[in-house]
């Protein structure tokens, strides 16, 4: 009886790609198309150097996007990541200035981010404030703190080692030529890119292979059902927001390290890029749908678009318009497909 409606469907029908993999395929094709088109437009686009530049530029949004994906999967949103990024950078900078070595100072920065996320989680689950409002509050609080602590002035002269994370790279091969500048054979894989790859891998593992990940999906899919099934929904949400905050902190360190200066007004509107990356990658703001690989594709679509349009001499204003249109198109394509 139960199978009547399904039984009428031919067996081959079941091989259709799932909604998620269809979306990912579309996104991947879009990315390939963009790379193809930009390569035609400019010879300098499709080069190793530029490829690494795109990777480097995408790493910050990628890190924020991963945290955002975890939160969006629980049917939440984290508007505070851009500000938390700045506050975390400020805390790292102040710690370095106070004489703490760079590595522990950066840990303090990441922990600051995690603490902001934990507060978000607490306000959302215990005070029952909607994620939008709670993280909007944190967005203002963290930004205000970052500006207050620094007097809105950048912190510079942090030492060379502070810039290592953002500017260093692995497997850099140089050839001594006898001249002043050595010839760079391979510029190396920037540390932020390696960091992004590791974080993406760990986050995907968490979501797919661990109970916490399963509970994140369940909470976003049907919170009441998850709760009745014995899922500790509040704890699951706390974990998601804390991880989002910690990743914002990590992204803050990467970004400030790249600039070798702490800018308390960095990262404004980054939360929107992070949300865009997740949504372009197939995450649903209604919760329960999305994954890390999709968000990575989404982040790279934004990164490639920015880079390619920059090289083509398109203004930053037009770039915003283009990315805005792509976000809407991505969601529209998804909805049309689901309506069928």
């Amino acid at each position: 009886m139960a199978d009547l409606d399904r039984g009428a469907v031919p067996a081959s029908w079941t091989f259709k790609p799932s909604a998620a993999s269809f979306h990912k395929l579309t996104a991947l094709l879009t990315l390939a198309l963009l790379i193809f088109a930009f390569s035609f437009g400019n010879d300098a686009f499709f080069t190793v150097n530029n490829g690494l530049t795109v990777l480097l530029q995408t790493s910050v949004i990628g890190l924020l996007g991963i945290g955002m994906t975890l939160v969006i999967l629980t049917r939440g949103i984290d508007l505070s990541v851009g500000s938390v990024l700045a506050l975390s950078g400020v805390m790292t900078g102040l710690s370095v200035k106070a004489g703490i070595p760079v590595a522990p100072a950066m840990t303090i920065g990441v922990l600051t981010g995690a603490a902001c996320g934990l507060v978000n989680g607490f306000v959302i689950t215990k005070m029952r404030i909607t994620p939008f409002v709670a993280t909007l509050g944190m967005m203002l609080i963290a930004r205000g703190l970052a500006l207050q602590l620094t007097g809105a002035a950048p912190i510079s002269r942090l030492g060379e080692s502070f810039g290592a994370l953002g500017n260093g790279s692995l497997l850099r091969i140089v050839e001594k030529t006898g001249g002043i500048f050595p010839k760079v054979v391979f510029p190396g894989i920037p540390y932020p890119v390696i960091l992004l790859a590791i974080v993406a891998f760990v986050a995907a593992y968490l979501l797919n292979r661990r109970q916490t990940g399963r509970h994140i999906y369940a909470t976003g899919s049907n919170e009441e059902a998850a709760r009745l099934s014995g899922v500790l929904v509040d704890r699951t949400k706390m974990i998601a927001y804390t991880l989002s905050g910690a990743l914002a902190g990590l992204a803050g360190n990467v970004l400030m390290s790249r600039l070798v200066t702490v800018q308390p007004n960095e990262g404004v509107m980054y939360e929107l890029d992070a949300i865009a990356a997740a949504v372009i990658g197939g995450a649903s703001l209604m919760g329960g749908v999305g994954n890390i690989s999709g968000t990575m594709i989404g982040a790279f679509i934004i990164g490639v678009l920015r880079n390619g349009l920059n090289m083509a001499g398109v203004s930053a204003f037009i770039q915003q318009i283009v990315i805005g249109v792509i976000v809407i198109l991505a969601v529209y394509v998804d909805q049309v497909r689901n309506r069928r």
Binding site: M1, A2, D3, L4, D5, R6, G7, T14, N208, R209, R210, Q211, R214, H215, Y217, A218, G220, S221, N222, E224, A225, A226, R227, L228, S229, G230, V231, L232, G288, V289
Partner: protein
Amino acid sequence: MNLQPQSEPPLVQMIDIEKHFGGIRAVNGVSLDLYPGEVVGVLGHNGAGKSCLMRILSGAMIPNEGSIKVHGDKADIQNPHDARDLGIETIYQTLALADHLNAPSNLFLGRELKTRIGNLDDAKMMSETVRVLKKLNPNFKNLNDPVSSLSGGQRQVIAIARAIYFDVKILIMDEPTAALGPSETAMVGELIKKLRAEGIGILLVSHDMHDVFELCDRVIVMNKGKDVGSHRIEDVTKDDVLSLIIKGELPHDWVPRSQEKNNEH
């Protein structure tokens, strides 16, 4: 009809349970016993307090007053997790399924099987799900699809499977057949009889008088938050029960039907 096995302690005793929301007394001093191998129908209008009482037992709601004993020991049920640890399983009317997850993920939700290093053991969960679902519905396919794409009957089967797979002692069924066709309803009826034979206590919330008289040993009728009558099923007729549900009292000329028969002899 088997007699109440009085020698055994009740599986569950709910004692003087009260639950109010503001000024509204949803449950007003209700007590309920459930013995092993017994099916008790919990009846009443919508809003009579029966779902509320069931939610208290399943840990979804915390009572203002009253206590619960399980196997004679006082139980502190703070959330659904606690209730499940005590062997209290619930099949909710809404089914409580996570739509985007597949059947095995739903069946094991909150109690996922893990490998030695703590990873999710999806292969084991899938094979166990196949084993359990085959018993309930041999035609079950689509185990990898999100449950949102399944039919109402298949979703119900998953909800039932989830309740009976683990070591269930007390089963709460809230309108288990409301979404089902005739053959599936019959399947649920058979299942209830089988579970009763295994000594599991079942609380059946239902509006279907046919089901109630077919399956229950006893009924408890609630009206405006109060217990207005708890009767062995052979002592009442459908009209008696409907009178309790609607008016909150038995017909004036009521005598227990079993005694009525005795008097005729």
